[in-house]
Amino acid sequence: MGAHGPAKGLMRWVTTTNHKDIGTMYLWFSFAMFILGGAFAMIIRAELFQPGLQIVEPEFFNQMTTMHGLVMVFGAIMPSFVGLANWMIPMMIGAPDMALPRMNNLSFWILPPTFALLASTLFMEGGAPNFGWTFYAPLSTTYAPDTVTFFIFGVHLMGASSIMGSINIIATVVNMRAPGMTYMKMPMFVWTWLITAFLLVAVMPVLAGAVTMMLMDVHFGTSFFSAAGGGDPVLFQHIFWFFGHPEVYIIILPAFGVVSQIIPTFSRKPLFGYDSMVYATASIAFLSFIVWAHHMYTVGMPIAGELFFMYATMLIAVPTGVKVFNWITTMWKGAMTFETPMLFCIGFVFLFTVGGFTGVMLSLAPADFQYHDSYFVVAHFHYVMVAGAVFSMSAAVYYWLPKWCGKMYDETMGKAHFWISFIGFNLTFFPQHFLGLAGMPRRIPDYALQFTDFNTMSSIGAFIYGASQILFLFNVIRTIVAGKPTSEEKTWDGAEGLEWTVPTPAPYHTFTTPPDVK
């Protein structure tokens, strides 16, 4: 092999094949998207601060809810975990790099132009996509703005990126483990990503199929989603949610993996019930394929369908419960300390469980007729997406940042970030449960007067939560620029795993010859 260190300048990043470089690019890109999607959220909450229309037009408000969802799901959360997978999986299984390094670079470099295009639709004639991140037909076909075509090809590109990224992860985990690293010795993060990658390869093509059908309906007069020609708009919902439900596990399973790495470290005990964690993850993945229509109870399905999807959905609470109990049991009687990553993980366990319980409430078909399309649903999935995925991502950054850059972050600032996030988050989303139960629909720019107080609280909470992310950014940059250097291989004394056996900061190439795993 040629040079051992990275090349210099911009071309290092453009031409790199190194899993750490690519992981870093994914992480920074996803943070940029997090800020962009967050800005959209701030506009939404500013408009909802009080009743009446004050800041934006309803048409623009719809574009904001749509773009917020799309950017956060496809631009922020998913790429952030792919970045983490790139950085950590090769180091955790003792591999020299990802299995297909050039394709790895391609998976990343598809994303920036795609999201630049998606964001630029805001300035195009007719405005950005305005049909919600679920882009139901006929809103996204008959009534769509002209920019829907760019949206469709954007989804194709993101899908291609995700599929290539996932195939790479599967090939890496299946083929690149160091001798002795059997499947049942793999760190939980690797397991959860292996299963996530399988889900991605299975459902991203289905999403590609859905947008392709939209494209044909919009431009070629086909009638997939048009009853007049013998199709059905509800068909769109079935195909979308066949992708969409596994998608929420694509987002949350890597988060489970992160939490399963961090809680044992700061409890100074091995993960309780490792095997059951693996089986629970696999069960959740399997169940995710047979529950999609729980998003469609009110659409007019036959009663047998309602019952099947209701019971199947409730079943998911079982493996999820196994996981929550395992995390708590791992902490039980452990010599616990509460550094920032651990705080975020404990926050995760509490708040994700709240989101899980509201999920069980929503799974009940008769009750869902009340909650459907209300702020209760908004509260539910933000407990899972923000307090679940984003909290665990913050935990991961604090946990591995010293290993990545050889500098220690500021613990006080980290803890402040956690507590401000925790308070801001709950202030934003807890009142939304009440708003939804009281009947406030989602995706509206104006609301009835009785919803004012909770909305004002929610908006204040959102501004606090948003501000706390600036603190996060500041802390990370400060660490990289001026953090206290550390060269301990093991940053945390309770940490286990191969990534803690390599020098700190992790050298550009690790494990060019595989380690021996006992």
């Binding site: 092999m1 040629g2 040079a3 071309m11 031409t15 790199t16 094949t17 020299p96 790099d97 299995a99 297909l100 390094p101 050039r102 670079n105 391609l106 470099w109 132009p113 006929p138 076909t141 009534y143 002209d146 075509t149 760019f150 469709i152 090809f153 291609a160 599929i163 996932s166 195939i167 790479n168 599967i170 090939a171 390869v201 299975a202 093509p205 289905v206 590609a208 199929g209 309906d217 919009v218 070629f220 007069g221 086909t222 009638s223 997939f224 048009s226 009853a227 007049a228 020609g229 013998g230 199709g231 059905d232 068909l235 066949f242 007019g300 036959p302 050298p507 190439h509 060019t512 010859t513």
Partner: protein, 324 residues
């Protein structure tokens, strides 16, 4: 540090730098941006306006294909230079297998849509069960049959009588391409296409067996026959489409029958073309450059897996689109 010598471990080849990815990314993006602009001009644009959408699309496409050519070429050169450890070769195998799985799921979406409209949406539109209660109001007189020759819009006398959103005219076909009965089966192109594709899967397998025995001549011959059969399939499919458009009054927008028929057979035909090109490349490599050995022939193997996959999809199509 690289260059450790570990006798029982081959170094996994990780190219240090590569411009391939950024080229592929930017050219693919340009292609799709151009394609979207072409479609938007056509559907939403002013008639007769001048745009450079086609130019953007074609430039992107040519450069993207060129990038792919260079990329695959480089991969082959690396392998022939002995840079690929057996572990890396296995990574390629896994990559191809999961890529084919993703293609299976893409087709599953379209087969699923076909199943849904035939078994659920169609009967509901015709008033069956709870979900069909609105039939009297929305589509009075619509009867469900498959192939759907009369759309709900036809049944109520055209788009003017429609009380739901106007998505344009959606008229059923004049004739369909389903099984025409035993007396006419001799003129039924899909039957010939089925025979051709299944034969081509067999010939691809024979070529593989010849390759495993080191029989270069047999390999070239049978692989060549496979490619020829693939091209014959594409030609017959073209004839069928021509017949549909010119004689049968069956168009892409002929209601849900035309929609599902052309989308399923169209995507399949596109994949046949891709598969045939892949096999043709392997044939050229084998005949002109004597690539492939009985132990090392991943390019051939991957292409033939792809070919078998395309064949299996056709069997599904033949059953669910043409016969049942």
């Amino acid at each position: 540090m690289a260059g450790h010598s570990n006798t029982d471990y081959e170094t996994y080849y990780v190219p240090e730098q590569s411009k391939l990815a950024i080229w592929a990314s930017l050219t693919l993006f340009t292609t799709l941006f151009g394609a979207a602009s072409v479609l938007n001009d056509q559907t939403f644009g002013e008639p007769g306006q001048e745009t450079n959408s086609w130019f953007i699309f074609l430039v992107g496409l040519v450069l993207f294909l060129a990038t792919l050519f260079v990329w695959f070429r480089q991969t082959i050169i690396e392998n022939r230079a002995g840079m690929n450890s057996s572990q890396l070769k296995h990574s390629y195998v896994i990559g191809m297998q999961w890529f084919i799985f993703s293609e299976v799921m893409f087709f599953a979406a379209f087969f699923g849509a076909l199943w849904y409209v035939r078994n659920l949406a169609g009967p509901w539109l015709a008033g069956e069960g709870e979900a069909g209660r609105m039939n009297d109001l929305l589509w009075p007189g619509f009867e469900y049959t498959w192939p759907m020759m009369e759309t709900p819009q036809d049944a109520i006398g055209g788009v003017g009588n429609q009380i739901t959103a106007n998505n344009g005219v959606m008229t059923g076909p004049e004739r369909n391409l389903s099984f025409p009965g035993w007396s006419n089966v001799g003129h039924w192109l899909p039957l010939y296409n089925t025979i051709i594709l299944i034969t081509s899967s067999v010939t691809a397998h024979i070529a593989h067996l010849a390759l495993l025995k080191g029989n270069r001549k047999g390999q070239n011959l049978w692989l060549g026959i496979t490619v020829a059969l693939g091209l014959a399939f594409v030609y017959l499919q073209y004839l069928e489409y021509h017949e549909a458009y010119v004689e049968y009054g069956l168009f892409l927008n002929s209601g849900i029958y035309g929609t599902t028929f052309f989308m399923l057979t169209g995507f399949h035909g596109f994949h046949v073309c891709m598969g045939a090109i892949m096999l043709l490349v392997q044939w050229l490599r084998s005949t002109r450059s004597s690539h492939f050995t009985p132990e090392d022939h991943f390019g051939f193997e991957a292409s033939s897996w792809y070919w078998h996959f395309v064949d299996v999809v056709w069997v599904g199509l033949f059953l669910f689109v043409y016969i049942l």
